[in-house]
């Protein structure tokens, strides 16, 4: 289910003295099976924009089509769209409200009017996908969970609705390095195995860069850059302009270039950087400035 956005504007508290325009004339297309990083500093409009992806916001200026259906059309079934485009919010405590993990995950499928057997099966599947052991966690009290486990439970609660698109807002925020790595692996698995379109919203490059195929950067309500990960990341000056730190490997490559070494800046991880540096050193003339 592709998402198309045309000339979208958004103003918070419209018609009050506190009005603030958050989106300026945004046009965008997201196709099936894409793995996207939506990145920008705080207040850049990324969360606002993403809330149009599952019809939490209905456009007043501009148009949004989800699977070809206009969300501003009164005949469009918004509830159905929200099941198909899952949204996991930054703070899992805004979502979890039942007593046990199992009951909370069951909330979505129950609203979809699934049979008890189907709900059971979906809970099992969702918990397995996010790496929460069914036997251990099904009856576990929500408040006995750690921060990372709460995030997983929240993601499972959305996955149980069997979405085709999954939007994850700041899922690594507040997690330790290990929890971060684990949750990102879960996301990667979802995209590869379940063929879900994934949109990761973040304000840091390091987490997202390694995973996604396409990066959209935003600043002050406008899209600054949109393209394949490598390309967007190699434009270091543009990233720095909007206050985003490029991943550390790219910064090293950039500094090497400034010192006169002919290395490409579009690398994604240390392994690639190493092989590029070795290649440079092995080419005649490449090491000329080495002194």
């Amino acid at each position: 289910m592709p998402i198309e956005i045309e000339n979208l504007n958004h103003t918070y508290k419209e018609g009050t003295p506190f009005a603030r325009q958050a989106l300026f004339n945004i046009s965008l297309r997201i196709d099936d099976g894409e793995f996207i990083g939506l990145i920008g500093p705080s207040q850049s409009g990324k969360s606002t924009l993403s809330q149009y992806f599952n019809a939490l916001f209905i456009p007043k200026s501009g148009r949004v089509f989800i699977d070809g259906k206009d969300t501003a059309d009164r005949k469009t079934d918004l509830v159905q769209i929200r099941f198909e485009v899952g949204y996991v919010f930054q703070n899992p405590e805004h979502q979890l409200f039942k007593t046990t993990v199992g009951e909370d995950i069951a909330f979505g499928p129950t609203r979809q009017k699934c049979s008890p057997e189907e709900i059971e099966e979906r809970i099992r599947e969702a918990m397995e996908l996010v790496g929460l052991d069914y036997e251990t966690f099904f009856e576990r009290d929500i408040f006995a969970l750690s921060g990372g486990q709460k995030k997983r439970a929240a993601i499972a609660g959305v996955l149980a609705c069997r979405p085709k698109v999954l939007i994850l807002d700041g899922i690594t925020a507040g997690l330790d390095p290990r929890g971060r790595k684990e949750i990102l692996n879960v996301v990667k698995k979802l995209h590869q195995e379940k063929k879900i379109t994934v949109i990761l919203i973040s304000h840091s490059m390091d987490d997202v860069a390694r995973l996604v195929d396409r990066i959209i950067t935003m600043d002050q309500g406008k899209i600054v850059d949109d393209g394949p990960t490598r390309k967007v990341l190699s434009r270091v000056d543009r990233l720095q302009q909007i206050g985003l730190e490029p991943p550390q490997v790219i910064e090293i490559m950039q500094q090497l270039r400034e010192k006169g070494f002919t290395v490409p800046t579009g690398v994604l991880n240390i392994k690639e950087a190493v092989s590029e540096i070795v290649k440079m050193l092995n080419t005649p003339g490449g090491e000329q400035s080495w002194n």
Partner: protein, 275 residues
């Protein structure tokens, strides 16, 4: 879906008008006085002058009129209910029946009572909104505390009361914002807010109220820690950075308020209520 958009109570609207710069004691005591006066007002002429006065205050504070009035909107359904109840169930002596339908009879006295009461509630809300729009929370605490201080001899914990009130006011917008986020998170899981029958609508409240309450308790807990880590131990012996002082404008304001109050009292006494 913006809950905070229609919220004006508890929000400070920054400005530098005379009204903003008045001593908070003047504003709090003045508002209290006006509200007391409002409770005794019982005819349309007096209410008209009252509304004009409130309007003048809004204009003087340079608050956009639409913004100030927007806050009244959520009250309207509640008021409409009260109005209908008054029409059908209030029967002041000597009132005439306008029409009857089924077992209900509407009287003109009830109609007047309902209308006057609605105006009273609207003005009451408007006056309070003007106070909070022109007075920052810090000024509100300082003012309330100063006004309650004489009661401290009677063992009334003035400082604590003022603090409690201000914390409550301060968290109205915060909680509204949080409720908005929770509503969104639940909408994303297929709750269709505002649809369905009465029982379904009640059921929709649980996924919002439960996280909201839990988070509110958590927030209170965090605030206690923050206060204690800054050595807050209660009010005794605390000094103020900004000492409250009455200015010339405060005395002028009191003169205006007293004149207005006198006029209102004359209007209340001279003009008979419409029922």
């Amino acid at each position: 879906m913006e809950l905070t958009k229609n919220l004006t109570l508890g929000i400070y609207f920054p400005g530098d008008t005379t009204l903003h710069c008045l001593d908070p004691r003047t504003k709090i005591a003045g508002t209290t006085g006006l509200i007391t006066l409002l409770l005794f007002t019982n005819n349309y002429t007096a209410y008209t002058f009252f509304a004009a006065f409130a309007l003048a205050l809004i204009l003087a504070a340079k608050i956009p009129l639409g913004f100030a009035l927007r806050g009244l909107r959520p009250m309207l359904p509640f008021l409409a209910m009260m109005w209908l109840f008054q029409i059908f169930f209030q029967k002041p002596p000597g009132s005439e029946i306008i029409f009857s339908w089924w077992k209900l009879t509407a009287t003109d006295g009830g109609l007047h009572m309902g209308t006057l009461m609605s105006i009273r509630v609207l003005l009451l809300f408007l006056l309070t909104t003007i106070l909070t729009l022109t007075t920052s929370t810090v000024e509100l605490t300082d003012g309330t505390e100063a006004l309650l201080r004489p009661l401290q001899r009677l063992k009334v914990p003035a400082q604590e009361l003022a603090l409690t009130m201000v914390i409550a006011l301060r968290f109205v917008p915060t909680l509204a914002e949080e409720a908005e986020k929770i509503i969104k998170a639940q909408t994303a899981r297929g709750v269709d807010f505002g649809r369905g029958n009465f029982i379904q609508k009640i059921a929709q409240l649980f996924p919002v109220l439960l996280p909201l309450f839990i988070n509110a308790f958590r927030r209170a807990d965090e605030m206690i820690t923050a206060m204690e880590s800054r050595c807050y131990t209660g009010g005794t012996g605390r000094t103020k950075m900004k000492v409250l002082r009455m200015s010339k404008n405060d005395y002028y304001s009191w003169a205006v308020l007293l004149l207005f109050a006198l006029m209102q009292i004359i209007l209340i006494v001279k003009i008979a209520p419409p029922f």
